[in-house]
């Protein structure tokens, strides 16, 4: 075929702008980069996966995003999910915690415990993780602006419970550059924000070598409107910015690169997503090997959580989201992810109900137990279409990365608001295409049910959470050794002003029950606050 008899067919492009042919052959693979670059699972360049036996050895970790209300409420949901077979935790914090405010701050009014659990001091962490074995269940903290403080709390809590921090596993999201592009929980200006990420990486390399201090997120960039190529390209540019910073501070690439991880989004075209991940794995391995001269293969691994994204789900006919979630999980498994999370079907409305969260968990378990997804590695390898698309996606991702570099790099592009602007322009175009019917979304612009009355069980927001949280905060503050707190905060401020690593000081301070707000205040005094470049 190769294009000759397709004249009566409508041209088809994927979201990344690649034209899709009606039929692919071995020639397409040869012309786009050949078969040689594929390699074997567990071997450079890791197109087929970072492990030789992948899910045969161990299925992906199931890590649903969860947390709301007081630490007691969150602890209850965590235990529920674990009791139902979840193998990791992914902790949601409320917005005040995410932007470094205590629960009694006037700016926190109405937000305490609403979209995640409230945290003011180490006491809250002690309660939230009570009864959870941190050796068996790895914990991921979805925290960015206040990441240094909450990582410190996690280490302090683990140490207090007798765990050896040197052997502690877990992940912090701690990707501040993407917060400036989408999601928006920044606190400090761009440069000191990167310095803080560097502090956590350096600290962990020395004291918590198994902990993953950063999970670079293409996910939220895609959720903000980026296409799959931009998602990977901007994510990799961000990861390179952190690497460059840490190298400048004297670490060698193999001393920390193996602990960097990634968080990517899944919705849209199945084959495009699978090719995106296979291409991304190969490109990242090449970047770390060729540009940074890593020698340890683990430094080259694209370790990732790849989750079904909320951006693909619809408010209309919400039950359809259960089906979408199942396809996203299938894509994730076909893509060789290490960890999986799915947005639940009710998330366009509310914090997931127990029922919705359980369905998401069962979706992943059905794939593991019934569908044969764990039997063999990278089952789509060798497909003419998938290999061609993998080669093409790699080329496109690299091209977008080159564009960013040509414009002075990602840090400058983010500080000046260019990436934000490009992504929000893309989001607007996507909506226009949807409104014009050029892209189709079932239940939204086709197969609609007018006057539908969705049966959604709303997550009840407990209005007492804020009062309870402030009461506990007051009690902790009354009971703590205030001289010790003051001295610890003084050290943090001095370290921040002098450009030293603030992590040791923050760890001492949280052990003395300094609050998230007090510590953030110290860091703001030294670093200032981010001034958002507002542009449309």
């Amino acid at each position: 075929m190769n294009g000759q008899d397709k004249t009566d067919l409508r041209a088809v492009f994927n979201e990344s702008g690649l034209e899709i042919k009606p039929v692919y052959t071995a020639d397409d693979v040869a012309h786009t980069g050949g078969w040689d670059a594929i390699g074997s699972p567990g071997e450079f360049p890791f197109t087929r996966g970072i492990h030789k036996h992948m899910y045969r050895k161990r299925p992906w970790t199931m890590r649903q995003y969860a947390g709301f209300g007081t630490p007691e409420d969150a602890n209850q949901r965590f235990r529920y999910l674990i009791a139902h077979g979840q193998t990791g935790l992914n902790v949601a914090f409320d917005l005040p915690t995410q932007v470094g405010l205590d629960s009694n701050d006037p700016a926190a009014e109405g937000e305490v415990g609403r979209v995640g659990m409230a945290v003011d001091t180490l006491r809250d962490f002690e309660i939230a993780f009570e009864g959870i074995d941190l050796d068996q269940i790895t914990v991921s903290l979805t925290i960015n602006g206040a990441a240094a403080i909450l990582i410190a709390m996690y280490f302090a809590m683990a140490e207090k419970r007798g765990y050896d921090v040197r052997k502690l596993r877990g992940t912090a999201q701690n990707d501040i550059l993407k917060e400036f592009i989408g999601r928006g929980t920044w606190v400090f200006p761009v440069e000191p924000s990167i310095k803080l990420v560097g502090d956590t990486v350096l600290y962990c390399a020395e004291h918590a070598p198994l902990y993953s201090p950063v999970s670079v997120c293409g996910y939220h960039i895609r959720e903000s409107g980026a296409n799959p190529v931009q998602e990977m390209a901007y994510g990799f540019c961000i990861a390179k910015a952190y690497i460059d910073h840490v190298l400048e501070r004297g670490l060698k690439i193999d001393e920390f690169a193996s602990r960097l991880s990634f968080n990517f989004d899944i919705h849209g075209n199945l084959f495009e997503q699978v090719a995106k991940f296979r291409a991304g794995r190969r490109l990242w391995a090449r970047i770390v090997k060729d540009q940074y001269h890593a020698e340890n293969p683990r430094s080259m691994w694209l370790r990732m959580i790849a989750g079904g994204g909320g951006g693909g789900l619809t408010r209309e006919q919400p039950e359809n989201n259960i089906v979408r979630g199942a396809y996203y999980a299938l894509i994730s498994a076909l893509s060789g992810t290490q960890t999986m999370a799915l947005c639940s079907y009710d998330e366009a409305y509310t914090i997931p109900s127990e029922k919705a969260a359980t369905i998401s968990l069962r979706t992943m378990q059905i794939l593991i137990e019934e569908m044969g997804l764990c039997d063999t590695v990278d089952p789509l390898a060798g497909s003419y279409y998938v290999e061609t698309l993998t080669n093409q996606m790699e080329e496109r991702i690299r091209a977008v990365m080159d564009e960013v570099d040509a414009r002075g790099g990602i840090v400058r592009a983010v500080a000046e608001g260019h990436i934000q602007n490009a992504v929000s322009q893309e989001a607007f175009e996507n909506l226009r295409k949807l409104e014009r019917g050029e892209t189709r979304k079932v239940g939204v612009n086709c197969y609609r049910i007018e006057e539908e009355q969705p049966q959604i069980e709303f997550h009840p927001f407990n209005e007492d959470v804020c009062a309870e949280q402030i009461k506990r905060l007051d009690r902790v503050r009354a009971e703590r050794d205030s001289t010790r707190v003051e001295s610890a905060l003084h050290t943090v401020l001095a370290d921040a002003k002098a450009g030293r690593n603030v992590m040791p000081g923050i760890i001492d301070a949280v052990k003395a029950y300094a609050t998230v707000g007090e510590l953030t205040h110290c860091l703001v005094e030294a670093y200032g606050r981010y001034d958002e470049p507002v542009r449309l």
């Binding site: 109405g110 999601r183 408010r315 509310t350 989001a427 409104e435 449309l536």
Partner: protein, 132 residues
């Protein structure tokens, strides 16, 4: 409307919610429809928003809220709009707003609630109809 003046809209993000995709999309759509649009950026307090609406002399105030804190925010904003003499400004709320909260929002003085999934043209039409 003063003769010939473009309709002026303040699109605001109150509270701590960082989800600004929707706010920016609506702002762009309103600009394309020929309105003057001012976007506040993230994390504005009700006080800041009321002051901006006053300073910018807007005809329309649109809030985008996805965190679930729309009721406490709008309860506070109500009094501030009165204080600033902004009760005749067309007040719109968009985002992740449960149907059952529309009633209380309307009682507070919100003129229309546009939940996630509302076509941007519906917002444009509503503003034109009410301000023509």
């Amino acid at each position: 409307m003063a003769g010939g003046r473009k309709i002026r809209v303040l699109v605001a993000k109150p509270g701590l919610d960082g989800h600004d995709v929707g706010a920016k999309i609506v702002a762009r759509a309103l600009m394309q429809a020929g309105f003057d649009v001012i976007y506040t950026g993230l994390r504005k307090t009700p006080e800041q928003i009321a002051r901006s609406a006053c300073d910018e002399d807007v005809d329309v105030l649109g809030l985008s809220i996805l965190s679930g804190s729309h009721l406490p925010i709008c309860r506070r904003l109500k009094g501030l709009l009165q204080e600033h003499g902004l009760t005749d400004v067309l007040w719109l709320v968009g985002g992740n707003i449960p149907l059952q909260d529309s009633g209380e929002l309307k009682t507070l003085g919100v003129d229309a609630v546009f939940a996630v999934g509302t076509p941007t043209q519906a917002i444009v039409n509503f503003i034109r109809e009410r301000l023509s």
